[in-house]
């Protein structure tokens, strides 16, 4: 079955990289908005896994991938609403609540899966792809990059949508102010709580969508703890991207490449233990944090609940 550098290997590697990158991209873009608005969203892993479960169940029973994605995004948003209520409105410790949400959702989805499907792991049929005319005919990269499910293109489009929001809209400025100087935003007559709530809900929707993608397209099934740190990787992407959506995309592709090495190596007939391959994305993260961590700038008011009149 070909060597390490055969055409199939490269195609499988790139295709897998894109498939693995999309959940990270969505999570990273979502987290970026929360962090911009001053909320460190550790609960994103929990939003993601809940989105994965709800998204899978939605797609499994309705037979429609789009219903699954909608359910996943709604599920992630529901969890985010809880986080927004506790951390933004009541001003509780974001790290404590974030840990709780992540642990709770991991446990809850495993529990629900157990009672819904017992020990069976039903699979979804393969998703339909939407090839882009002309581009998809390019050898090697064509089938890898331009023969994907429609949602992949939409995820990439979100990079440009969020860039536009941050650069060109009032909402973008409000978000920035909510993270850097919430008191100034308040004085300007704009509700800090509402601005931050919008950001957290957006994070939840994106994370849930990413989770649903991971389960429905990436794996084709749901298994407990399936996200395995993907949400946390999203946080790292947001930290390193310094507020720029395009950097999240690049970072997601790098991590996606690391993740897809598993399948690609198997295609190439290499027998590397999966445990070693599973370490790769996290090794890449640590390397990047060691190299660029110092420059990962974060908003001034990140993690600090806003309370009007507090010194």
């Amino acid at each position: 079955m070909g060597g390490l550098f055969s055409e199939t290997f490269v195609t499988v590697l790139l295709f897998g990289a894109v498939t693995a990158a999309v959940p990270l991209l969505l999570a990273g873009l979502g987290e970026q908005m929360s962090e911009k608005a001053g909320v460190l969203n550790i609960g994103i892993e929990g939003m993601m896994i809940f989105g994965a479960y709800v998204g899978f169940v939605g797609a499994y029973y309705s037979g429609s991938f789009w219903a699954g994605f909608a359910a996943g995004a709604a599920g992630g948003m529901a969890v985010a609403a809880l986080m927004a209520l506790l951390c933004v409105r009541l001003g509780l410790n974001q790290i404590v609540v974030g840990i709780a949400i992540t642990l709770g959702m991991e446990g809850l989805t495993a529990l629900l899966h157990h009672f819904q499907f017992a020990r069976s792991y039903p699979r979804l049929p393969a998703a339909q792809v939407t090839p882009i005319p002309l581009l998809s005919d390019i050898p090697v990269i064509g089938p890898a990059l331009f023969r994907q499910h429609l949602i992949v293109y939409l995820a990439v489009a979100m990079v440009f949508v969020t860039t536009w929001i941050y650069r060109r809209t009032q909402l973008g400025l409000n978000l920035q102010a909510a993270g850097d100087k919430p008191a100034a935003l308040d004085v300007a007559g704009i509700d800090v709580t509402r601005t931050r709530t919008v950001a957290v809900l957006f994070t939840g929707a994106m994370a849930g969508l990413g989770g649903a993608f991971l389960a429905n397209i990436g794996a084709g099934l749901f298994i407990p703890f399936i996200t395995n740190g993907a949400g946390f990787l999203g946080i790292v992407l947001a930290m390193l991207a310094r507020g720029r959506p395009l950097w999240v995309l690049f970072g997601a592709l790098i991590f996606g490449l690391c993740l897809s090495l598993t399948t690609a190596a198997q295609v190439a007939g290499l027998n590397i233990p999966t445990d070693i391959i599973q370490m790769l994305p996290f090794l890449a993260v640590m390397l990047m944090l060691v190299l660029f961590g110092r420059r990962a700038s974060l908003p001034a008011a990140l993690g600090i609940p806003y309370e009007r009149g507090a010194r």
């Binding site: 460190l40 709770g104 495993a110 930290m239 944090l289 110092r294």
Partner: protein, 364 residues
């Protein structure tokens, strides 16, 4: 009753004062017990939703984890590693550092102990082999925390993320070590060599409770005393309460940061070692009890007080042992404990919020 009697005798102002004091006491009790009761109720609703009678479940857990003699002994044994983890987390959290990498540090400590103890025990006295494996496991866990510690101390990189990443790495790396390096050639099951039962830590009296429990109690009490009674502990708490003030006060913040990470990770690694040389005897492939995360709520519930943590670690152990039995008997997966623990964390945070409000109103 007694207090009421006094009130009527000494008159109105004192009576009012006693009443507020009593209210305050009641409030304190409510704020501690309330979250637990509320969490049991909410988690009970989750059980109802999946078609399990929560009362049956809770009764079973209490029966197996607390009331049956064998279960109680297992619960006390389970406390040993959890106490070490709790003490490691108390050091970190009191110093304002979020060591969320407990799972990786714990597993690597466990694997190090499992790799060393069965080999050393053949060439030297048992107590020395156990001691050396304990020390080396601690060193390995500390080594695993060095990168996040350096990044936080000198680059200001958020330790929440780095410790989490190192934890994922550590769990995978521990598996690699078990499957490829320290594999027991004697069995077909992928696991490390097994420490014979006779060579493990002695059991207490005529029970099956491990003497690791005593070590765990010593560790957490020592940590509590160091944090509350020594100048070193005070310095750490200053760093935790206000890092800027600590710098201006002339404290060596990077040095203290490194010390906190080393102590925290070391204690958690000791927990892993204690579990292996006291109870498990070996590490099986893909074994990850994920105690590191489950203990976090316990530490918060105890408000980072070592003595209170002992009590709450006991509760977690009951839940853990009882939950394992319930998973086998009632078919409710262990993951339910995770749900319950996370609900406790949230209700606790809400209780703190209410407490804050209550105090503000009283002051006003």
């Amino acid at each position: 009753m007694n207090q009421q009697a006094t009130e009527t005798r000494v008159g109105a102002p004192d009576a009012a004062q006693a009443a507020t004091r009593r209210n305050e006491l009641l409030w304190r009790v409510a704020i501690t017990i309330g979250p637990i009761v509320a969490s049991l109720a909410i988690a009970g609703c989750v059980l109802l939703a999946v078609g399990v009678n929560p009362l049956t479940y809770y009764a079973y857990v209490v029966d197996r984890g607390l009331l049956s003699p064998l279960g109680l002994q297992q619960t006390l044994t389970r406390m040993a590693p959890l106490l070490f983890i709790a003490s490691g987390l108390i050091v970190a959290f009191r110093s304002g550092m979020w060591n969320l990498g407990g799972d990786g540090q714990y597993l690597l400590g466990a694997v190090a102990a499992a790799a060393i103890a069965p080999v050393f025990v053949q060439v030297m006295p048992g107590w020395l082999a156990l001691f050396l494996s304990f020390v080396i496991a601690t060193a390995v866990a500390i080594a695993w925390s060095i990168v996040p510690a350096l990044l936080r101390a000198y680059q200001g990189v958020n330790e929440i993320i780095t410790t989490l990443m190192m934890s994922f790495l550590g769990v995978s790396f521990a598996n690699v070590l078990v499957k490829l390096v320290f594999l027991d050639p004697g069995t077909t099951v992928p696991q490390t060599r097994t420490l014979p039962v006779d060579d493990r830590l002695p059991r207490l009296f005529d029970t099956t409770v491990t003497s690791g429990l005593v070590l765990g109690l010593v560790a957490i009490i020592a940590v509590h005393l160091v944090m509350t009674r020594t100048s070193f502990g005070l310095r750490l708490r200053v760093v935790g309460a206000n890092p800027n003030a600590a710098v201006h006060g002339g404290l060596n913040v990077p040095g203290l940061t490194l010390a906190v990470f080393a102590i925290s990770a070391g204690l958690i690694g000791m927990g892993g070692a204690i579990d292996i040389i006291g109870v498990q005897g070996n590490v099986r492939a893909d074994w990850n009890p994920a105690y590191g995360m489950a203990v976090i709520p316990v530490v918060f519930l105890a408000r980072m007080n070592g003595f209170a943590a002992i009590g709450f670690v006991f509760l977690l152990s009951v839940l853990s042992i009882g939950g394992e039995s319930a998973a086998r008997r009632l078919g409710v997966p262990q993951h339910f404990t995770l749900v319950l623990v996370s609900i406790v964390l949230i209700t606790l945070a809400i209780a703190e919020y209410l407490d804050h409000r209550f105090n503000e109103k009283r002051r006003a």
